[in-house]
């Protein structure tokens, strides 16, 4: 299953999703497409004029173009997600995830999607971290179990 993680550049979340055999939807994959595209002259400082237009799917025209441009990158993550893990209050936000309003909008769309979702808080202590890891593993195991009957039905 494709699991969207938030923050979308989190090492811990992406690694744990992959350990359980799922595919993490992370921002780096979207950025890679941007920075290796020969059509953009000096990536990632410029975006193409199509990006804010793509962002219109998620935000109104009155919304700043910076948010719409970011939403063009976050969009595929939202659209493809079969399950979601959100870790709130992550301490740092740089680059693509440095915009608080985009983050709010992305989390709104992810919550609205109606797929299995696990919401956590960024841990500060050993106990909190261990509980977070166990919760993520239990959640990912439940996804595997729930997807099994569907596969059998298809057969």
């Amino acid at each position: 299953m494709k699991v969207a993680v938030f923050p979308p550049n989190s090492l811990i979340l992406a690694d744990m999703v992959e350990r359980k055999g799922h595919e993490p939807l992370v921002i780096q994959k979207e950025i890679r497409q941007k920075v290796t595209d020969p059509e953009i002259d000096s990536p990632p400082f410029n975006i193409t004029e199509e990006d804010p237009i793509k962002g219109l799917k998620y935000a109104a025209i009155e919304v700043p173009s910076g948010i719409r441009g970011r939403m063009a990158i976050f969009g595929p993550i939202i659209d493809e997600a079969d399950a979601i893990i959100i870790m709130e209050d992550a301490p740092y936000g740089f680059g693509c995830i440095g915009c608080a309003r985009t983050n709010e909008l992305t989390m709104y769309f992810l919550r609205k999607k109606g797929v299995p979702i696990l919401e956590l808080h960024y841990p500060e202590t050993r106990e909190e971290t261990m509980e977070m890891v166990n919760k993520i593993n239990t959640f990912l195991d439940s996804l595997t179990e729930s997807s099994k009957p569907n596969e059998e039905q298809r057969e």
């Binding site: 811990i12 994959k29 290796t36 595209d37 020969p38 740092y92 740089f94 890891v133 166990n134």
Partner: protein, 140 residues
């Protein structure tokens, strides 16, 4: 589409309790004899190459110390002048996120070694009667 579009970059991060050092990790990666670009870093290594080959290398390297080796995708290729520290003169943006999450990796390793099933339901508040009983028991 350029051939670069088919290539991926992965960061291999060694946890604080890892059984191997960065130089050992680099040696192991070279010993795999796969067509990869390998770069040594302070947290482990960065590898760059075809998707399947990178995945193969990741699987083999993870087996060395499963609960202490972490991996993460990276958008930019190793040494990319737009992000490389040697050209920019400061840590790249993603490093700060990595640095902060590194502080928790020790505990993540512990949890991965000793996994437990937990309930995902939020704990509910106890009823007033139950609370009263507990208080009365404590007073005895």
């Amino acid at each position: 589409m350029s051939p670069e579009n088919d290539k991926v970059t992965r960061m291999i991060i060694l946890g604080p309790k890892a059984q191997l050092s960065q130089s050992e990790l680099l040696g192991k990666l070279h010993m795999l004899e796969l067509p990869l670009t390998i770069k040594s870093t302070c947290y482990g290594a960065v590898i760059h190459g075809d998707d399947k080959i990178v995945q193969d290398a990741i699987t083999k390297i993870r087996d060395l110390d499963p609960s202490n080796i972490f991996t993460k995708d990276r958008g930019f290729a190793p040494g990319d002048p737009r992000r490389c520290r040697a050209k920019r003169g400061a840590a790249r943006e993603g490093f700060h996120q990595l640095e902060k999450e590194y502080e928790l990796l020790e505990y993540v390793c512990d949890a991965l070694k000793d996994p437990k099933k937990v309930s995902l339901e939020e704990s509910k508040k106890i009823s007033l009667d139950e609370f009263r009983k507990i208080v009365q028991e404590c007073e005895k």
